[in-house]
């Protein structure tokens, strides 16, 4: 059992399980699936600073923080009990392109060439964690949701503003990959 679960899961199993999160949250407690809202709840709970956007009953939304707490625990379980030591298979042209830009260690989930804790205080860490994180936090709230809120639960309930947002996520991602990433890797 454990051995079977330890192998990398195919996309169709993952897709179905993620999709089922939408009805599970709806039927268990009338909750809408959307993870980026947690970042707002953390602001509202810890650093509201009198900003109207953070003045709401965040305690009512605590369920979502319980949810991401679970995601964190799931990450621990998947990488320990269910760990799989076979190397990840990464597309050849992606490997070549990244290799030319200096990303050469393809062993883990995250490239150690960019996200090793040793780089936290360097220019590299600044771009990949600090600037990247700011874009994720600012962008998702400006857009009113992220991949879960717009691309999955928004599209699943056929809401066209979510389609606009999803198209923009993808467009930003393509620009980020083809323009911004090579630029940053040249600087750092």
């Amino acid at each position: 059992m454990i051995q079977c679960l330890s192998q990398p899961w195919p996309w169709y199993i993952a897709g179905v399980l993620i999709g089922l999160t939408v009805p599970a949250l709806l039927l268990l407690g009338n909750k809408i699936f959307g993870i980026s809202s947690n970042l707002r709840h953390i602001c509202a709970a810890c650093i509201p600073a009198g900003i109207p956007f953070f003045k709401y009953n965040w305690k009512r939304e605590l369920w979502n923080l319980f949810f991401v707490g679970g995601v964190f625990i799931g990450g621990i379980i998947a990488s320990t009990v269910l760990a799989d030591n076979s190397p990840m298979v990464i597309g050849e042209s992606t490997q070549t392109a990244l290799g030319q830009m200096g990303v050469r260690d393809f062993s883990g989930l995250m490239p150690s060439d960019l996200f090793d804790t040793a780089y936290i205080l360097s220019l590299k860490g600044f771009f990949f964690t600090v600037v990247g994180g700011l874009l994720v936090g600012f962008g998702t709230r400006y857009a009113g949701g992220c991949t879960s809120g717009h691309a999955i639960s928004g599209l699943a309930s056929l809401q066209w503003p979510s389609l606009v947002a999803t198209i923009c996520f993808m467009a930003g991602g393509f620009i980020g990959t083809w323009v911004l990433l090579p630029l940053i890797l040249k600087i750092v």
Binding site: L5, G15, G70, M110, F115, G125, G133, G137, Y142, G176
Partner: protein, 164 residues
């Protein structure tokens, strides 16, 4: 309770996009069931390598079908479930009517969407995967998470001055 609620951030500054629409309050043990769903979700994230920076790169380089398959299947599964819930008027386990808040368009979805996309490509993470990556032992991502909270705070601070 009405079936449609406005979540337009301009009209309802207190509105939460991923809202709790349950009339009954949640107890601590009630909230733990969301942790359980989160655990399954986090395991899927890591085991299907959705939280991998490399898989995100492959997606944006059109080098692999994997991520498109995951997101596509998730949307179809979600849409089918929503359709069934609406069609059969399925109630929540507390017997309440399921609420689908309506999303209203504003230009933030374009500007914010593009900015998030840039961040997605750089960090290889959406807000959900951040938590799974930290759980999987990538401690530098704690900085990304703190920074994402800071980004959300900055949006709240400058919100009135931004085009929507």
């Amino acid at each position: 309770m009405s079936g449609v609620k406005t979540t337009d951030a301009r009209l309802r500054p207190d509105a939460c996009e991923a809202s709790n629409n349950q009339d009954l309050p949640e107890s601590l043990s009630g909230n733990l069931k969301y942790t359980l769903i989160g655990v399954v979700f986090g395991i899927v994230f890591v085991k299907a390598e959705i939280v991998s920076w490399f898989r995100i790169q492959e997606m944006f380089r059109l080098d692999s079908f994997h991520m498109y398959g995951v997101i596509g299947t998730a949307v179809v599964t979600g849409a089918l479930s929503v359709f069934l819930i609406r069609f059969f008027k399925v109630k929540t386990i507390q017997g309440e009517e399921v609420v689908f808040p309506k999303k209203t368009f504003n230009r933030g979805q374009i500007y914010g969407g593009l900015l998030f996309g840039l961040g997605w490509a750089i960090t290889g993470a959406c807000p959900g995967p951040l938590f799974a990556q930290i759980g999987a032992g990538y401690l530098a991502i704690l900085v990304t998470l703190i920074s994402a909270v800071a980004g959300t705070w900055l949006y709240g601070y400058f919100r009135d001055k931004l085009p929507h």
